[in-house]
């Protein structure tokens, strides 16, 4: 939190007199305030000539601190929230939907891991078309490798539409495609800036209540994080964890489903394992492993980690 000086504009009670008083006790920022013994501070304030104002200043800072954390929720409120707000979004692939018990859950961060050319982008594109069409929600797609293919999405949307007239189909396609927003990001700082903007516009949208964003896809988050991970400093590691917590916060606060893709690297014995390391393992709520058999084009998806299901369950489907 900020030094006390910068709070002066918003809270005029924290005037220079209060700041000098705090400075006498070695308190320059709100963090120092928290570390200090407040009873002792109040006792010192008593002895000052302007004790009332100083005590009001102390209570003001305490109330600012209180406003920073999320409100406490009890179990019943959480259950009500889960039942009413956290819907399940179908991914458009029957195999995955069956495995996940309906599809992607809003409020959860789902990760799709797979070796190259295993169908991760295709699953993402199918999820995009399914959510835009069936759930009438907006989709935000952050693309790092220019692989967002509008023709493929149009193909998926057109696949299960039963409108026969060309004009109506054109209009329907246009409406659905207008709900899908795609942005190219090529480094992690741009991604943070975009997510920050998204957060602000979501907060504004909460009041207006029109087409809400339902699904956020980042394809792929590993190509954003790999260039900064490792090396001498730990900034890359910190940014990765920060990204994960920001995505989970967005998912929970605004009832989005967040889907990210990751790639695999060679592990021991030649068995491929997911990239991004041990810390990233605990960040997503659900992790799915995708693999494709070159011979018969069947995709297999298995659960590596899930918050409420056994890991190891698998299903196969055609793409």
């Amino acid at each position: 939190m900020a030094p006390l000086r910068s709070l002066e504009q918003e809270y005029p009670i924290l005037d220079p007199l209060f700041q000098t008083f705090c400075a006498l006790h070695g308190i320059f920022s709100v963090e120092d305030f928290l570390l200090h013994d407040l009873y002792v501070l109040a006792a010192f304030a008593e002895q000052e000539p302007d004790s009332e104002r100083l005590k009001q200043g102390i209570t003001q800072v305490l109330s600012i601190i209180d406003g920073q954390h999320q409100p406490w929720l009890n179990g019943m409120e959480l259950l009500a929230d889960a039942l009413h707000n956290k819907h399940v979004l179908s991914t458009g692939c029957d195999g995955i939907d069956l495995l996940l018990g309906g599809g992607l859950s809003a409020g959860q961060l789902t990760e799709l891991v797979g070796p190259s050319s295993s169908g991760k982008t295709q699953v993402c594109l199918q999820a995009v078309s399914s959510v835009a069409k069936k759930h009438i929600g907006n989709v935000v797609y952050l693309d790092t490798s220019n692989s967002f293919s509008p023709q493929r999405v149009a193909h998926f949307v057109g696949l299960v539409s039963n409108i026969s007239f060309d004009q109506a189909r054109h209009h329907f396609l246009q409406n659905v495609m207008n709900n899908i927003v795609c942005h190219s990001v090529f480094d992690i700082f741009t991604m943070f800036a975009v997510l920050h903007q998204l957060e602000i516009s979501l907060r504004m949208q909460l009041q207006s209540g029109d087409h809400r964003v339902r699904l956020l896809i980042i394809d792929s988050i590993s190509s954003l994080i790999t260039p900064i991970l490792g090396g001498k400093g730990s900034q890359g590691h910190a940014l990765m964890v920060s990204a994960g917590s920001l995505l989970k916060k967005l998912a929970h606060d605004h009832n989005l489903a967040v889907l990210v893709t990751n790639h695999t690297v060679g592990g021991e014995g030649g068995v491929p394992k997911p990239a991004l390391g041990e810390t990233w393992k605990s960040i997503p709520h659900v992790r799915l492993l995708l693999s494709r058999d070159r011979g018969n084009k069947k995709c297999t998806v298995s659960i590596i980690k899930h918050s409420s299901m056994d890991s190891g369950k698998a299903a196969s489907f055609d793409l």
């Binding site: 910068s6 709100v30 967002f148 903007q197």
Partner: protein
């Protein structure tokens, strides 16, 4: 937004946090000299930090683009934009067919194969074909050729350019007089003039060139293709720190993607092969590892099948997996002259 998410150096971030500035809002109402005094840094450094912070703050009001995010596009707009970006032909009809018309702009295509299969030939052919004028169905653009192996031969490029001009005038003659486009004004020497050639001798030069390319292409706006032949050469031998290699390659891939998207050009990178032990046997796979294989948009593998050269689409978001034969002739890349030409759908 946290200060930790700003693109500033780690030491500056450490100083900001220890002085108590952990959010953007705390930086919004302070002057550069106060900040410099607090953090014990130079005024100019403080000014830089405040500039970066205010840039991020200004994005607070999403306007323009689409209501949700600045600079984003809807899928509908992107669908219609695709028509305005013609593809670059490879002069081989079968190859063009499996590529959906040719090499796509705004995408990074990785082409890999064993030595001697024709990668450099394909690269030179593409550098020539991008200059085909718009009246003949091409892009009329220039090419940047980045040579890391020293395999670019000017005489061969001249040969291919002459063959291209000859083909264009033959095509012109075949049309009726009314349909004839204006006479072929392009000369082989003009074609060579429009290929910007860079020779790279180590990986440092390669990284430096990637950083410089953005500025170069902003100055030469009609560059429509960037060919890197090959991207592997300087990263394969004598690289002790594999972690560093992965990071450098990842960063380079993102820069190339950015280049392709920002300037609407095609990026073609050539890769070499290595053996990989998968599923109980040793197989040929593209070099540079697993992380690199995720960094391109499309991947094409060139291989020998008996006496014929084949190209196979290994990875693409919108093209089907298929393979097609092609041949390398004195005129460049052309259709394979085999008796039964087939495009195998896999």
């Amino acid at each position: 937004m946290e200060v930790g998410r700003l693109p500033i150096s780690a030491s500056q971030r450490g100083k900001l946090i220890s002085a108590g500035y952990t959010t953007l809002s705390s930086l919004s109402s302070i002057s550069a000299s106060d900040l410099a005094r607090d953090l014990k840094i130079l005024d100019s450094e403080a000014l830089e930090i405040l500039k970066v912070a205010s840039l991020n703050n200004r994005l607070d009001r999403p306007n323009g683009g689409h209501g949700i995010v600045n600079g984003a596009q809807t899928a509908w707009e992107m669908l219609h934009e695709e028509q305005f970006f013609p593809r670059i032909t490879t002069s081989c009809a079968d190859l063009d067919e499996i590529l959906g018309g040719g090499i796509n702009c705004k995408e990074v295509t990785e082409i890999g194969g064993v030595p001697g299969i024709g990668k450099t030939q394909l690269g030179i052919q593409l550098a020539v074909n991008v200059q085909i004028p718009v009246e003949f169905g091409g892009l009329g653009g220039k090419a940047v050729y980045i040579d890391t192996e020293g395999s670019f031969m000017v005489e061969r490029a001249m040969q291919i350019a002459e063959a291209c001009v000859l083909d264009m005038s033959h095509y012109n003659d075949l049309l009726r007089k009314e349909d004839r486009a204006c006479q072929v004004k392009l000369q082989p020497s003009d074609i060579l003039e429009n290929i910007f050639y860079f020779r790279i001798c180590n990986y440092t030069e390669q990284m430096a060139l990637m950083n410089y390319l953005d500025k170069f292409i902003s100055e030469h706006k009609d560059v429509k293709i960037v060919i890197v032949d090959s991207v592997t050469f300087h990263f394969r031998q004598d690289f002790e720190d594999l972690g560093l290699r992965t990071r450098l390659l990842g960063g380079m891939a993102l820069k190339l993607m950015n280049l392709a998207k920002a300037h609407s050009l095609a990026v073609v990178i050539f890769n070499q092969v290595t053996t990989k032990y998968t599923e109980g046997s040793y197989q040929l796979a593209l070099a540079l590892g697993d992380s690199w294989s995720h960094s391109c948009t499309n991947r094409v593998i060139l291989y020998w099948n008996g006496d014929e050269r084949f190209a196979y689409i290994d990875k693409s978001p919108s093209l089907r997996s298929a393979s097609a034969p092609f041949a390398v002739t004195s005129k460049g890349i052309r259709n394979s002259p085999s008796n039964y030409k087939r495009t195998k759908m896999m």
